[in-house]
């Protein structure tokens, strides 16, 4: 085998690489476990959302409760205990109704009906094990059609709204897309759908504040919204292209029965909800970024570089390899690439394990975006620290001095960096309340590889403290430049010197 590839293979299969992977998996796994068990979000599969529907069939009132879980799938075996309040001129009478949903998620019943009175229908529900779950609507019924009057027990990101307009009886339920904590799946149910029901066109936009301007029957200018699709059945699933960057924004959904492509349409239903990204990656990132990012990853980079290169170089062991048919430059590259690939493999495995643990506890995987962002941030950080140690090894000849330099870097660029940068800003007399402080603080963070994952996370979330990341200069270009600098510059200079110096 080519000596270059052979040395990479040896580094990858070395004992220290195995130790790296085990440590990475242990730390991220334990972090994911602590994030998972302390998560207050219910597993979507154990949530029930019940949407009642009442219909006048002459002398009877047909009641149909439809239950879905947090993923939007029908819930069977759900115990429903409900009460129909009949408001008559002589007071209120009550009808107690009990039942269990079938395999299709429906519980249907019929009660006598007096068209001259108004009704309220309240639902109480529990699973067969008796545990209280979910979200339910209380609905009113008068003059032959339904109207909502309350919703109860909203859990985390789940929400439900009801709208009755122009003959449409529409429920809009926000649930989760299975396996993706970032996506909010909006399910729209037209409970009185028939084959002759006119299609509905869906539009959406986002706003920083709750939108109270557009309600059913107000004109909607379609130039100000984005068209999503057309609802031509009783059930319609919508997954809007939202991301962590929309976190905290209000999402406005409009259903209109006008002609598709018209400039002005009249919505028959409108709902607005706060977009909260429930990706478990957010919690994992928050938990990892301190201990893992500022302490463990630098240790990983420094000690890997020490064990795979600096120690051999300082002790002279590397000379027994240099005399083989390989150049100094290629030997350097093989060790450096081997070290970097071991970081890559270790971090991928560690995040994958964390992902599985989080899915077990929260029901959602880390999104691909979060996975990639965390992988890139920690990988570049580890490679940067390794590169710095490779560089130091070109000038420092003793093992002790190399290790001392590494530990010094860990202090200076790792957990003391915030103190150092704060002291620098203090000496420069920059007040912490000013916007200049934020920018300068960010610039100083760019000088420590420990803080690259922070910068990348800020860019990904488009948030830097209380302001947007873009407003302080964190954009795709600055992030790429900082990443490339840390990825290539220390190692590149070290590579230059290893080819030129003894």
């Amino acid at each position: 085998m080519n000596g270059f590839l052979y040395d990479i293979k040896r580094t990858l299969t070395g004992k220290f690489t195995i130790i790296i992977v085990i440590l990475l998996v242990l730390i991220t796994g334990l972090t994911a476990y602590s994030v998972g068990v302390t998560s207050n979000s219910s597993t979507p599969g154990s949530v029930a959302i019940v949407m009642p529907y009442m219909n006048d069939t002459g002398h009877n009132l047909t009641i149909s409760d439809y239950a879905i879980n947090g993923y939007g799938a029908p819930v069977s075996g759900l115990k429903i205990s409900s009460q129909l309040e009949n408001f008559t001129g002589n007071g209120t009478t009550y009808v107690h109704i009990k039942g269990t949903t079938g395999s299709n998620g429906y519980f249907n019943t019929t009660v006598p009906y007096n068209s001259s009175t108004n009704y309220n229908y309240n639902i109480y529900l529990s699973y067969n094990d008796g545990s209280s779950v979910g979200l339910r609507m209380g609905v009113g019924f008068s003059n032959g059609h339904m109207s909502n009057y309350s919703e109860c027990c909203i859990q985390q990101s789940y929400s439900i709204s009801y709208s009755h307009s122009n003959g449409y009886s529409l429920y809009t339920a926000n649930v989760r897309e299975k396996g993706d904590g970032s996506a909010i799946k909006t399910m729209i149910f037209n409970r009185n759908y028939t084959s002759s029901t006119a299609p509905l066109h869906l539009y959406y936009n986002t706003s920083s504040t709750f939108n109270t301007n557009v309600y059913p029957n107000s004109n909607l200018n379609t130039k100000n919204v984005t068209g999503y699709g057309t609802m031509k059945s009783a059930e319609y699933t919508v997954i809007l292209p939202l991301s962590i960057r929309n976190n905290g924004e209000y999402v406005n959904l409009y259903l209109a029965n006008g002609t598709s492509g018209s400039t002005n349409v009249a919505p028959v239903a409108f709902t607005s909800f706060l977009y909260v990204d429930n990706n478990p990656g957010i919690a994992l990132q928050g938990a990892l970024v301190t201990f893992f990012g500022v302490l463990f990853v630098p240790i990983l980079g420094i000690f890997s570089a020490y064990f795979y290169y600096s120690k051999d170089r300082a002790s002279g062991i590397i000379e027994s390899v240099i005399v083989r048919p390989i150049t100094k430059g290629k030997l350097f590259l093989s060790r450096f690439i081997g070290t970097s690939v071991s970081f890559l493999a270790g971090i991928i495995i560690a995040l994958a394990v964390a992902d599985i643990i989080l899915e077990h506890y929260t029901g959602a995987f880390i999104s691909a975006g979060f996975f990639t962002e965390m992988l890139a941030g920690y990988l570049i950080e580890a490679i940067a620290f390794a590169g710095i140690i490779y560089l130091a090894s070109q000038f420092i000849k003793s093992q002790g001095a190399v290790l001392g330099t590494g530990i010094g870097l860990l202090f200076a660029l790792g957990f003391m960096w915030q103190v150092i940068s704060g002291a620098l800003l203090f000496l420069l007399k920059i007040k912490s309340t000013t916007s200049v402080y934020s920018k300068d603080s960010l610039i100083l963070n760019a000088f420590s590889p420990s803080y690259f994952p922070y910068i990348l996370a800020d860019y990904y979330k488009n948030a830097f403290g209380t302001v947007t990341a873009a407003s302080v200069g964190i954009n795709i270009y600055s992030v790429i430049i900082i990443g490339i600098v840390w990825l290539l510059v220390p190692a590149g200079i070290a590579f230059y010197f290893t080819r030129k110096r003894d």
Partner: protein
């Protein structure tokens, strides 16, 4: 074949090796002698490609060790003075690592490692970490590590140091066998008698400069013959007496009268005894390599 052409190496302002020219032909053993700090190890490290020459070139089978490093190193084996391998490793995995840089087919490397370890008598210790090897075993491992690529050229840097007489004999036999196999060997050593025993030539280096290359013929008839004398009650008068017989020097406890003039040992002995000196040894001798070497480098 190893060719060193105008090799110089400086460390900052210190010139460790200066304009060195040597050629070690196939099937030839060249000894390399010099005092500590003369530049022997620096020369060997430059020849091995570990350090870069400041100027000049080193060619291994016509491949420049700097510009054609991979080709040159394929043909070169280096046995360092001190073990420079990972001592926490076991021998076979480490030899497999070294062997991985050469072009071995499937199974060939394992076979080669087993053969060499058996030949050098350490195969039975293959499961022992190298740090538990004796000095001699480590040296043998170094030899195997140098031979793993089956090169045609060898550099031995003070390899005989620290070996017991048995070990010295073993290494000497290995070197002679390499020569018989047509390999070129460059051997630096402080044990000059061993160099004299095995080397076809001995290059003497002083302060980084080559001062003499002794051929086999010169080694056989080394230096001037003369009379060697040991006196149990010497004083300053001895030199005066002996000087009348020729140029006289004192090395340790022995007086040496260089060849020339009236040098009849019996006559010299008679003259000393008459002056009440007690002579316990007198005889004709050639100057040793050590004496010659010390004379050259002083």
């Amino acid at each position: 074949m190893i060719t060193i052409s105008h090799l110089s190496k400086s460390f900052n302002k210190f010139k460790a090796v200066s304009d060195l020219n040597l050629e070690i032909k196939n099937g030839e053993i060249m000894g390399f002698a010099g005092l500590n700090g003369a530049g022997k190890s620096t020369t060997i490290r430059a020849m091995a490609g570990i350090i870069f020459p400041t100027s000049g070139t080193v060619s291994i089978d016509n491949n420049d060790i700097v510009r054609e490093k991979v080709k040159a190193s394929k043909h070169l084996g280096w046995v360092p003075e001190l073990p420079n391998f990972e001592v926490n490793a076991k021998p076979i995995p480490l030899l497999k690592y070294y062997g991985g840089f050469y072009e071995y087919g499937a199974g060939e490397l394992d076979k080669k490692i087993k053969e060499l370890m058996e030949e050098f008598g350490i195969y039975n210790y293959r499961n022992r970490k190298l740090k538990y090897y004796s000095q001699g075993m480590k040296k043998r491992f170094s030899l195997i590590a140098a031979m793993i690529g089956d090169p045609d050229n060898y550099l031995f840097d003070e390899t005989l140091n620290g070996l017991d007489p048995q070990g010295v004999k073993e290494v000497r036999d290995i070197i002679i066998n390499l020569k018989k196999d047509g390999k070129s060997v460059f051997l630096s050593s402080h044990i000059l008698s061993e160099l004299q025993n095995v080397a076809d030539k001995i290059a003497i280096i002083k302060n980084g400069q080559l001062i003499k290359i002794l051929t086999r013929e010169e080694l056989v008839n080394l230096g001037s013959s003369g009379i060697k004398i040991h006196i149990t009650n010497p004083d300053k008068g001895v030199i005066d007496i002996l000087s009348s017989f020729g140029e006289t020097s004192l090395t340790g406890d022995y007086y040496f009268i260089k060849k020339g003039g009236n040098q009849d040992p019996a006559g010299i002995n008679k003259e000393l005894v008459m002056k009440n000196y007690m002579v316990d040894y007198i005889g004709r001798e050639n100057e040793t390599l050590e004496e010659y070497f010390l004379e050259m480098v002083k």
